[in-house]
C-alpha cells in the first residue's frame, strides 16, 4: 500500500481498539500531527481519510476536524467517534465529518462504516482475495486454500499467513511480525513466531512448506516479490 493510502488517527496515543480494527482491516494509519503542522501550507495533506475520536478531548478533536476540512484538499472521508453524551456537538458541525459512530463501538460496525465511506468516496478497492502462487486467502470468509485444498488454520496462523502473503518477498523480523500480527496480546515472546511458522509449514504440507522461508538471523518471508526488479531483503 502506498503512503497516500493512510488513515489519520486522533488522539495520540490512538485508542487501542481502534488500532486493532484498522490493522485487522489492513488499513495503514498514523497519528495526526500537531495542528500547527497541519496549518502550515507546506504540509502536503494527502490521507485516505481520518478517524477522529472526540470523546476524550472534544475541543482539540473538533479543532483538528476543522483544520482537516479547511485545507486546499479537504480530508475525506472523516469518521468521528463520539460518546453518547456529546451527540449535540454534531448539530452545528455537519460540514466537519462524513459519518459518526457512538463509543464504545462494535469493531464490525467500524469496519463496515469505513468500508462504506470508502466506497462512497469511490475508493473502495480493497482486495477481497490475497493470492500468491498456490495460496489463496479469502479475506471475507477467512478461508485459506493451497492448490485448491482448504487449509484449516487457527486464527493466528491465518493472520500470519495473510500478513506474509500480502507482501511476498519482503522479509519481516520476528519483532515486526509480533507487533503487526499478534499486537500486544501475545504470550510466548518472540519464539511464538517460530512456533507458528512451524505449524503453518506443517499444515501447508511437505510440497508447499518451502513457501515460507527462514532468513537466517533476520526473520521470515513468503515467496518472491511480484516486482522483478525489486531487491528482496530487509
Amino acid at each position: 500500500m502506498s503512503a497516500d493510502e493512510t488513515f489519520l488517527v486522533f488522539p495520540d496515543p490512538a485508542p487501542p481498539e481502534l488500532v486493532r480494527c484498522l490493522e485487522f482491516g489492513d488499513y495503514h494509519w498514523e497519528p495526526a500531527p500537531e495542528i500547527n503542522v497541519l496549518k502550515n501550507p507546506e504540509t502536503v495533506a494527502s490521507w485516505t481519510g481520518a478517524v477522529v475520536a472526540t470523546d476524550t478531548t472534544p475541543e482539540a478533536a473538533w479543532a483538528l476536524c476543522t483544520v482537516l476540512r479547511r485545507g486546499d484538499v479537504p480530508t475525506e472521508p472523516l469518521l468521528v467517534l463520539i460518546a453518547p453524551s456529546q451527540l449535540e456537538d454534531l448539530d452545528t458541525r455537519s460540514e466537519l465529518f462524513d459519518d459518526f459512530l457512538i463509543t464504545p463501538f462494535h469493531p464490525r460496525e467500524l469496519e463496515a462504516r469505513i468500508k462504506q465511506l470508502l466506497w462512497r468516496a469511490g475508493r473502495g478497492k480493497r482486495p477481497e482475495l490475497v493470492t500468491y502462487g498456490p495460496i489463496e486467502l479469502n479475506l471475507e470468509t477467512y478461508q485459506a486454500v493451497v492448490d485448491g485444498r482448504a487449509l484449516d488454520l487457527t486464527y493466528m496462523e491465518y493472520e500470519l499467513l495473510r500478513f506474509l502473503a500480502a507482501t511476498p518477498g519482503r522479509v519481516f523480523t520476528r519483532e515486526t511480525l509480533l507487533n503487526r500480527v499478534w499486537g500486544y496480546e501475545y504470550y510466548g515472546g518472540a519464539r511464538t513466531v517460530d512456533v507458528h511458522v512451524r505449524r503453518l509449514r506443517a499444515k501447508l504440507g511437505e510440497e508447499h512448506s518451502h513457501l515460507i522461508q527462514t532468513i537466517r538471523s533476520v526473520g521470515y518471508k513468503l515467496g518472491q516479490s511480484r516486482w522483478k526488479d525489486e531487491r528482496s531483503g530487509p
Binding site: R20, F24, P107, R108, T141, Y142, Q143, A150, D152, L153, T154, Y155, M156, E157, Y158, R174, E175, E185, Y187, G188, G189, A190, R191, T192, V195, R198, R199, R201, A202, K203, G205
Partner: protein, 443 residues
C-alpha cells in the same frame, strides 16, 4: 479476543463443521469432552457452558459443584480423522460459580505457573519425546499382544505399525502439531514420536491431543495404543522425556557460549532446582502405581537423582548442541512418563526449576559414570538420592512439599494426595498372581 471468536464462527460455517467438541482435562489427566452443535457455539463463547463438576475426577466438591467451561478460540482445530473432518475441537478454561478461575482446572494451574515465570521475565518451552506401544488386539481388557517384533530404529516398512505411525504423524501435522522425529523404539511394538518445542501451554494441549489421536487412529484399525508406563515385564517401559528451556524475549536464557556445555548460570540453577525437588514432584510426573515399575535399574529409565551431559542413566541430561545454535541449548528431564497430566507435570517442573533460580541453588558435580552399575551403598557414599521407589514413597515426598502445594494450589494438591493414597491402598491389598505362584506351594 472477539476477533478470534468471530474467526471460529466463520470457520465452522465455511468448513461445514457439524459438531464442536469442547475439551478439558481432569486432575488425573483424562481428556473430557462436551459436544455442542454449531448453533450453540455463539452462546458457548458469550456465556460459557454450565455443567456439574462433581461428575469429574478432582472437580468434585458437592457444595460448589456447578462449573462453567469457556472455550478458548485460539485452540480451535478440525479433527481431520473424525466424521469426515466435520468435527472440531476447542480447549476450555473452567470457572467456578462466581466466574473465578476454578482451582481444580489443570489448565488454570499451568497458566498460573507460567504467569509467575513470566513475571520473572521467562517463558517456558517444552518438547516431549512420546513413547507408547501398539498392541495387536483392540480390546484393552485382553492381555497385550505385540504388533511387531521390531527394535530400536528398525525400518519395518511393510508392517502395520509403521503405517499407523505414518498416518498418525500426518494427522498430527494437519492439526498443527509439528513432529520432529519418529522411530521404532527399543522394545517390540514400542514407538516414539518427538514433538517440536513450543510454549508449555500449547504443548500441554498438544500432548492431550496427541494421546487421543494416537489411540483413536489405532482403534479405527482394531488395534490398541497404550501410554501405560510399563505394560510388559522385562521390556523397556514408555517414558516421556521432556526437553526444557526458558526464553527471555528472543534469547535462550539457558545459553551462554562461554560456559561449560554452553549452559548458562540460569540453566544450571534451573537444573539444580529440578534435582533438589525431584523427589517431591515425582508423584505428579509419574502418577501411577505402574509408573514405578519403569523406574528400575536395568532399563533406560532414571533411578538416581543425578545429572550428566552424555549419560543416559542420569535423571537430567544436558544434550550436546552445536555451539552456534543458541536456541537449542536445553536440558532433558528423563523421569516423566506419558501417563502424567501434562498441565500439572509442566507446572511442578517449572516451579522446581524456578525455585533453583530464585534461591540460586548450586549445581552438584556431574555424574559421569554409568550409575546403573553401582549399588545402593556406593550411591549413598556419593551423596546421591534415589527417586521414590513406589507411588506411596512419592506421595510421602510430595505431601511434605511446600513447593508442590503452592504450584498446584490447595484444591488439586489435597485431592490428588487423597485420590492417590486410595489407589495405593487398593494396590497394596491386592494379592497378585506372582505371590500365589511363589508362596502358595511352599507355605
Amino acid at each position: 479476543m472477539e476477533r478470534q471468536q468471530e474467526y471460529v464462527l466463520r470457520a465452522v460455517e465455511e468448513r461445514n463443521v457439524k459438531l464442536i467438541r469442547l475439551w478439558f482435562t481432569d486432575v488425573l489427566g483424562q481428556l473430557k469432552s462436551v459436544a455442542i452443535s454449531p448453533v450453540e457455539l455463539e452462546t458457548a463463547f458469550d456465556e460459557g457452558m454450565h455443567f456439574d463438576g462433581s461428575a469429574i475426577d478432582g472437580f468434585s466438591r458437592v457444595q460448589e459443584s456447578d462449573v462453567l467451561a469457556r472455550p478458548d478460540p485460539s485452540t480451535f482445530e478440525l479433527m481431520p480423522w473424525a466424521d469426515k473432518g466435520t468435527t472440531a475441537r476447542m480447549f476450555c478454561d473452567i470457572f467456578d460459580h462466581s466466574d473465578n478461575a476454578f482451582g481444580g482446572d489443570p489448565r488454570h494451574v499451568l497458566r498460573r505457573n507460567l504467569d509467575r515465570a513470566r513475571e520473572a521475565g521467562y517463558s517456558f518451552f517444552v518438547a516431549p519425546e512420546m513413547e507408547f506401544f501398539y498392541f495387536a488386539d483392540g480390546e484393552p481388557s485382553h492381555a497385550p499382544t505385540l504388533l511387531d517384533s521390531g527394535s530400536y530404529f528398525d525400518l519395518t516398512t511393510s508392517d502395520v505399525a509403521s503405517d499407523l505411525r505414518r498416518e498418525t504423524i500426518s494427522v498430527l501435522e494437519t492439526m498443527g502439531i509439528p513432529v520432529e522425529y519418529s522411530f521404532h523404539e527399543d522394545s517390540p511394538s514400542q514407538h516414539e514420536i518427538d514433538l517440536r518445542y513450543t510454549d508449555a501451554m500449547s504443548m500441554a494441549d498438544q500432548v492431550m491431543t496427541f494421546r487421543l489421536v494416537v489411540r483413536e487412529l489405532a482403534m479405527e484399525r482394531g488395534r490398541f495404543a497404550s501410554f501405560m508406563p510399563k505394560p510388559l515385564e522385562g521390556m523397556q517401559g514408555s517414558g516421556m522425556h521432556l526437553h526444557l528451556s526458558l526464553f527471555e524475549g528472543d534469547d535462550n536464557a539457558f545459553h551462554d557460549p562461554d560456559a561449560p556445555f554452553s549452559l548458562s548460570l540460569i540453566g544450571r540453577q534451573f537444573m539444580a532446582g529440578l534435582l533438589v525437588h525431584a523427589r517431591e514432584i515425582t508423584a505428579i510426573t509419574n502418577q501411577l502405581v505402574n509408573s514405578y515399575k519403569r523406574l528400575v535399574v536395568g532399563y533406560e529409565a532414571p533411578v538416581w537423582v543425578s545429572w550428566a551431559t552424555n549419560n543416559r542413566s542420569a535423571l537430567v541430561r544436558v544434550p550436546v548442541t552445536k555451539p552456534d545454535k543458541t536456541t537449542s541449548t536445553r536440558i532433558e528431564y528423563r523421569s516423566p512418563d506419558p501417563s502424567c497430566n501434562p498441565y500439572l507435570a509442566f507446572s511442578v517442573i517449572l516451579a522446581a526449576g524456578m525455585e533453583g533460580i530464585k534461591q540460586g541453588y548450586e549445581l552438584p558435580p556431574e555424574t559421569t559414570e554409568n550409575i546403573f552399575e553401582f549399588d545402593a551403598n556406593e550411591m549413598t557414599k556419593r551423596g546421591l538420592q534415589p527417586l521414590p521407589q513406589s507411588l506411596s514413597e512419592a506421595l510421602d515426598a510430595m505431601e511434605g512439599s511446600t513447593l508442590v502445594r503452592e504450584a498446584l494450589g490447595e484444591h488439586i494438591f489435597e485431592w490428588f494426595i487423597r485420590n492417590k493414597r486410595n489407589e495405593w491402598r487398593d494396590y497394596k491389598t491386592h494379592v497378585s498372581q506372582w505371590e500365589l505362584e511363589r508362596y502358595l506351594p511352599s507355605w
